[in-house]
Amino acid sequence: MALALQTFPTVEDAGAALKAAGTRYLGGGTLVVRAANEGDVSISGFIRSTEPALSIIRISGGEVRIGASVTMAAIARHPDLAPLAHAARAVGGPAIRNMATVGGNLFAPTPYGDFTVALLALDATVTTDYGELPIETFLAKRESNHAIVTAVGFTLPKEGGFRFLKQSRVKPKGVAVLSIATVLEQAQDGTVTSARIALGCMADRPIRARAAEKALIGRKLTADGIAPALAVAHDGTSPPTDPIASAWYRNEVLPVHLGRLLLA
């Protein structure tokens, strides 16, 4: 059975319509239309807004604001977002990337959400029609939050400061075994002065590797320097077992891939 789509010119009107039971916001539809096609009876209708601001990327003075309807393909081809292109291209194949939005990626359950892993390492803020939240707070209660995401914002990392890795079994496109993003700052002598490490597929949603971050401070990015961080990399993780990998395997390979990313 077809499910009615309601389109509103403003986020405010879409937000009001989204209060009706069973309605779901429609981003690119790669997850929510799929769910409807699979017979998810909890969905009774789709709501979307065509407010132009939702589709705009704004960059000024190193501050980036990406509208929630911006697609992975648009991020990947934006010249000023080149450091993030790799993370945007990690999402699906070419057609999926033309449809998959930043807003939708924030809600994508494990093993999806690769771009959100990048946003978590960038310590992004998530703007909704109810206000602005740090991404970690947003992710923690994303299911109960019925707001419409309008944009994400972050500071563009210094050159070489952002690293991203997605490990999958099917190349060049495949669902993640895990994904990792880091934003590191180093002193002149290479000592790490600040570190943010985000992990995908190591819980039901992207998480920060706080213990590893702490263990990196004051260390250099050498095999010896990063060893304490790798030893605690899976502190607080609870990876799923799915057709891609077992929880055990994900925990086993996490330090290996984190090590490769840090030494790259």
Partner: protein, 160 residues
């Protein structure tokens, strides 16, 4: 449920239909408009058999709601041949045995067309990446990759 109007161009021709709100583009194309070249394989975004081009971009018609295409230009594989002459990609797929059961072929050709529209002389890696959202259960992919590379070469020879 009240029907809603949709209007777009399909392979250059104006199309207007009344559909149930929330109908996918795949359903509208195949069952309303009668263009059966996009195939329904998985309806999950995974197989790529339903791939079409919307305003120059590759999309999955099984996950696209038809109403969101109002005013758009939709291209499908059925619109590629001209005056009974096959498109260079269709010809190359036939010549290279890149089609066996043929179920994946329209989607593969759409993905290859977008690639060649932007990258007329692609590398093998470019082709593999461009086809990475499309599954073929018959050919083992190699003939398809070769067909796309052959079509690119024949296009550039014809352009000289």
């Amino acid at each position: 449920m009240a029907k809603v109007p949709v209007q777009f161009t399909l392979n250059g021709a104006e199309k207007a239909e009344f559909i149930d709100s929330g109908t996918t583009l795949l359903h509208a194309l195949r069952d309303k408009i009668g263009d059966t070249s996009p195939k329904g394989g998985c309806h999950q975004g995974t197989c790529g058999a339903c791939t079409v081009i919307i305003d120059g971009e590759l999309r999955l018609s099984c996950l696209t709601l038809a109403e969101t295409c109002n005013g758009a230009a939709v291209t499908t594989t059925s619109g590629l041949s001209e005056g009974g002459v096959l498109h260079s990609l269709q010809r190359a797929f036939l010549d290279a045995f890149a089609t066996q059961c043929g179920f994946c072929t329209p989607g593969m050709i759409m993905a290859a067309k977008v690639l060649l529209d932007h990258t007329p002389n692609p590398s093998r890696e470019d082709v593999v990446e461009a086809l990475s959202g499309n599954i073929c259960r018959c050919t083992g992919y190699e003939p398809i990759i070769q067909a796309v590379l052959t079509a690119a070469r024949s296009n550039s020879q014809n352009a000289v």
